[in-house]
């Protein structure tokens, strides 16, 4: 065990944890966050995605010691139901989910991608989302929501 400092959604937490623990377990179990979720534990699906310094990172395969002191944003840290981030707003407006379990992966991967590629084409967005899974196959709506958000964010 060792003492680590984690900065999650703007709040600093001092924690005594096994430094090799994947970040996901710390976020969901120790901090009780609901956004990042266990999907595969292998970094293959995206459900555990968080933003670390603006980059989409798979928290299920990222040791907590690797991100200490860095800015970590989870889906609930991006915006709230009352004040959603534009990309969350776009997903709500497009009703772009069924079970919604994959949304950390979909929304945060898209957010990180759009921040870097504000002028991305439809094809580039699809490529940017190529490692994210949604098993309800809400793809059509999700891609529409990402494009809606892109237009809003580019303005």
């Amino acid at each position: 065990m060792s003492l680590l400092s984690l900065k999650v959604n703007g709040k600093t937490h001092s924690m005594d944890v096994d430094p090799t623990t994947p970040l996901l377990y710390i976020l969901s179990d120790d901090l009780g966050l609901r956004g990042p979720k266990f999907g595969c534990g292998l970094g293959q699906c995206g459900s555990c995605t968080v933003l670390v310094k603006g980059q989409a990172v798979r928290s299920c395969i990222t040791a907590v010691e690797a991100v200490q002191g860095l800015d970590i944003i989870t889906l609930e840290g991006l915006g709230t139901a009352d004040k959603p981030h534009p990309i969350q707003k776009a997903f709500i407006e497009e009703q772009a989910a069924q079970c919604g379990y994959c949304l950390s992966g979909v929304i945060l991967t898209a957010k990180a991608f759009l921040d870097k590629n504000p002028k991305a084409t439809e094809k580039e967005i699809q490529e940017g989302m190529s490692r994210v899974l949604c098993r309800c196959f809400t793809h059509t709506r999700m891609l529409r929501a990402i494009e809606r958000a892109r237009q809003g964010m580019a303005r």
């Binding site: 096994d18 623990t21 994947p22 377990y25 969901s28 179990d29 009780g32 966050l33 609901r34 956004g35 979720k37 266990f38 999907g39 595969c40 534990g41 292998l42 293959q44 699906c45 459900s47 989870t74 889906l75 609930e76 840290g77 991006l78 915006g79 709230t80 139901a81 959603p84 969350q88 997903f91 709500i92 009703q95 989910a97 069924q98 079970c99 919604g100 379990y101 994959c102 949304l103 950390s104 979909v106 929304i107 699809q126 490529e127 940017g128 989302m129 190529s130 490692r131 994210v132 899974l133 949604c134 098993r135 309800c136 196959f137 809400t138 793809h139 059509t140 709506r141 999700m142 891609l143």
Partner: protein, 801 residues
């Protein structure tokens, strides 16, 4: 039956009971405002209070789909379904779940509509064995038929509205005929100032009424809430990461468990060496019951490491049947259980007389539900009581079988539904609830278990059925079908647990329970009632059983025979179970027949259909897709010479009469590689009166693309001893970034018809439509799912060029 005397639920409650209720999703607000509600037995384990049995009604009436398990609110009572709060809010109770398919939104619309209150004023309580009527399982596209057509939720709300009108009449001294229910009030039609609110009339009291099957339902022409594309109330919480899934349920004092599954299918436990892990950080306990092995630790990551480190010795196991020859294995396996759906007993004769006989064989693999979140449950078993937070599709099944597993009384077991990741059928939800409960019972504390990806895929699921299907048909000289013969082989093992068989899923079996017995039966008895529940009967035959035609088609000579055999793997319902596999074969074969008759595939289908709703969906899809009448294959080259394009159609009368759909697929095939690109999917759906058009579109779009993923890539694979498709690299799901086709959904609204299923109609027709489009493009016929590039390349090689 005398109505039970029920006290208002504003009864003294200990702090811990209140907290437990809040955790279970019931704020005190629900209890105080929903004072007419029936609360039945309630147990939270030994540490928490139990509401007294005085609240338990007598023998429960049976909700459709369920058996009326002891202790559930009686389905025949209005109060079991709906309660009016003192502030005019409405609390409704349903036994049909929100699985991500939007059922809660549609059911809330139904309640708001029948009770004439705004959508926002309705609070829907979903599936809790202590609070909601037993409606069996949420599956098989049965939720809309059950709650929109029959005496369940809709009937209870209609009865309640009529009762409110009567009460209003009495209070206002105005005849019922001159009153109207609007916005939570009963008021005079001629003088809006003469009114009484629902809370004036009933708040804090029960209706004390039987559900009246004759209560007048609101006709679709008067709908103001139903039929509207109301957004899902859970969408904002999902998009902002605050929604509570079963995976995010946290119970105070909760420990974390992991399970260790056998080293091979059929292996038995020889030895567990607890000392290999007992000194590891966070270790609490190793739990063994027959072949069930699990560990409990303080934290989830600790549990994961302990499970990995635990030394377990398993026996050798017999080899699995070879995957390469599995479809032949199915055909040769004995014994069989044979089922004949239709048999005109002249098929062989008609085929002998036919001008042309066409035969083809289609194979469909086992497939997975492959939920994006592995299955999870939390259980709290203390003393003789148990509570489980479970994503099961059947909380009453889970309660009954959990009681068997834990050796407790069913009435002491409470199962609270909490949504998991989309399940699409029986994924690991039931098995993981047993896992959590066994571990919790062993440690006497709440335990959460979430399966690993591998456990979910190799040892958690009841896979969707594999099928080998032979189709045979005769054409007359004019190219009309004169006889259709269908014979299929499909392996089965286990199922949903039902009320009596925990051994139907992995953990129940490992813990010592047997699955439902396989009962050989051959030859099949003649059918005495028509059922097309599995869509084994093609849409194009008359379906003649018991002196009447029940089918959707015109072909009089018909035979449909199924041989079930024992499966080496667990099987169970996966979205459109059997229906999808049979429809793939029927619709591919229909296309082969049309090609042989040199007929246009749409025209050929219409020629052999009699059901008007089928004819309408086929025509609607063809119109939207600008279908050009001509036979297949077309073999038209697009701009790039190496790429061929084509279109294909497929349709189904889902379960014979529970929804209708037709799909047209447009594809491109790269000749050199067999690479397939699906450009467009047009799907026409008739699900009766549409409760929520946006919800139906969402379901249909998702069904179309999920069907495409299943057709193109998904297949359970195995070696001599184990399943080898154990993650997203070995089980191929189309990611968000694949070249998504344009999906167009055409909704045929039928306000005058009963509600039908909707969640499985689109997915059922996808493989047929895409396979037929590949044929149209290339002349190559794909008769095996998944349609890999290799298979496409092999099929088109002799034809294209």
């Amino acid at each position: 039956m005398k109505n039970p005397t029920l006290k208002a639920v504003e009864q003294p409650m200990t702090q811990s009971a209140a907290e437990a209720l809040a955790r279970a999703g019931f704020s005190r607000r629900n209890f105080i405002k929903g004072t007419g509600a029936l609360i039945v037995s309630f147990s939270m384990g030994g540490a928490l209070a139990t509401l007294e049995a005085q609240n338990r009604p007598g023998a429960a009436a049976v909700g459709e789909g369920g058996t009326g398990a002891a202790g559930s609110p009686p389905a025949g009572e209005v109060d079991s379904w709906v309660a009016i709060g003192s502030d005019g809010s409405v609390t409704a109770y349903t036994g049909k779940e929100e699985l991500g398919q939007g059922m809660s939104t549609a059911q809330t619309q139904l309640v708001a509509e029948e009770l004439c209150v705004p959508f926002q004023r309705v609070n829907l309580i979903v599936c809790d064995t202590s609070m909601t009527p037993d409606q069996g399982v949420t599956s098989g596209s049965q939720s809309s038929p059950a709650n929109f057509n029959r005496n369940n939720l809709a009937g209870a709300c209609a009865t309640a509205r009529e009762a409110l009108l009567q009460l209003g009449s009495k209070q206002l001294n105005i005849p019922v005929e001159e009153l109207v229910a609007v916005d939570g009030t009963i008021r005079s039609k001629s003088d809006a100032s003469k009114k009484a609110t629902y809370s004036d009339l009933v708040a804090g009291k029960k209706f004390d009424l039987k559900v009246n099957p004759a209560a007048k339902r609101k006709p679709a022409s008067e709908w103001t809430v139903l039929g509207k594309p109301i957004g899902r109330p859970d969408m904002a919480a999902m998009a902002t990461g605050t929604f509570e899934y079963v995976q995010t349920v946290r119970v105070p004092g909760m420990l974390h468990g992991m399970v260790i599954r056998p080293s091979a299918v059929g292996a038995n436990l020889m030895d567990v060496d607890e000392s290999s892990v007992s000194s590891m950080p966070g270790f609490v306990k190793v739990v063994v019951k027959k072949n069930f092995v699990g560990v409990v630790a303080e934290k989830p990551w600790q549990a994961m490491q302990i499970a990995r480190a635990l030394k377990v010795t398993w026996s050798d196991a017999p080899e699995l049947p070879k995957q390469e020859t599995f479809y032949d294995h199915l055909r040769n396996q004995k014994p069989t259980r044979d089922t004949m759906s239709v048999n005109s007993k002249d098929v062989d004769q008609k085929l002998a007389e036919a001008a042309t006989v066409v035969k083809a064989t289609y194979n469909h693999p086992y497939q997975m539900h492959g939920s994006i979140g592995s299955s999870c449950a939390v259980a709290d078993v203390q003393g003789d009581k148990a509570t489980a937070w479970s994503p099961t599709q059947g909380v009453w099944h889970q309660r009954a079988t959990l009681a068997m597993l834990l050796n407790l009384k069913p009435e002491n077991v409470r199962v609270i539904f909490r949504r998991g990741a989309g399940c699409y059928g029986i994924n690991g939800a039931d098995t993981v609830t047993y896992d959590a409960a066994l571990l919790s019972q062993a440690v006497g504390k709440p335990v959460r278990v979430q399966l690993t990806r591998k456990e979910e895929m190799a040892w958690g699921e009841n896979y969707g059925f594999a099928f080998a299907i032979d189709e045979r048909a005769g054409l007359d000289a004019q190219g009309n079908i004169v006889a259709w013969d269908h014979e299929a082989w499909s392996p089965v093992l286990g199922n949903r647990p039902g009320y009596t068989a925990p051994g139907n899923v992995v953990t129940g079996f490992l813990a010592g329970f047997q699955p439902d017995e396989f009962r050989p039966r051959s030859p099949a008895p003649d059918p005495n009632a028509f059922s097309n529940n599995a869509n084994a009967v093609p849409s194009y035959v008359v379906g003649h059983v018991g002196g009447a035609d029940h089918g959707a088609g015109t072909i009089k000579s018909e035979r449909v025979l199924l041989h079930n055999v024992v499966s080496p793997f667990w099987t169970g319902p996966l979205r459109s179970p059997q229906r999808l596999q049979n429809t793939f074969a029927h619709e591919s074969f229909m296309d082969e027949l049309a090609a042989r008759a040199k007929a246009d595939p749409v025209e050929f289908r219409l020629r052999h259909l009699s059901e008007p709703r089928m004819i309408d969906v086929v025509k609607a899809a063809a119109k939207t897709a600008n279908w050009v009448t001509r036979p297949s294959p077309g073999i038209r080259k697009t701009a790039t010479l190496a790429v061929l394009s084509g279109r294909g159609i497929s349709c189904v009368a889902y379960e014979g009469d529970n929804g209708f759909s037709a799909m047209i697929a447009e594809v491109e095939v790269e000749v050199a590689t067999g690479k397939l690109t699906v450009r467009r999917l047009v799907v026409a759906i008739d699900a009766g009166p549409i409760s929520n058009p946006d919800g139906l579109r969402n379901q249909s779009e998702g069904g179309a693309l999920q069907g495409m993923s299943r057709a193109l890539g998904e297949e359970v694979t195995w070696d001599d001893h184990n399943v080898t498709s154990i993650d997203w690299k070995t089980y191929h799901s189309l990611p968000l970034g694949f070249a998504v086709p344009k999906v167009e959904v055409v909704l045929l609204n039928r306000p005058d018809m009963p509600a039908t299923g909707a969640g499985e109609t689109a997915i059922t027709v996808v493989a047929g439509a895409i396979g037929n489009a590949i044929f149209d493009a290339t002349g190559g016929r794909i008769r095996q799912v998944p349609f890999t590039a290799e298979r496409i390349k092999a099929a088109i090689a002799p034809n294209a060029g």
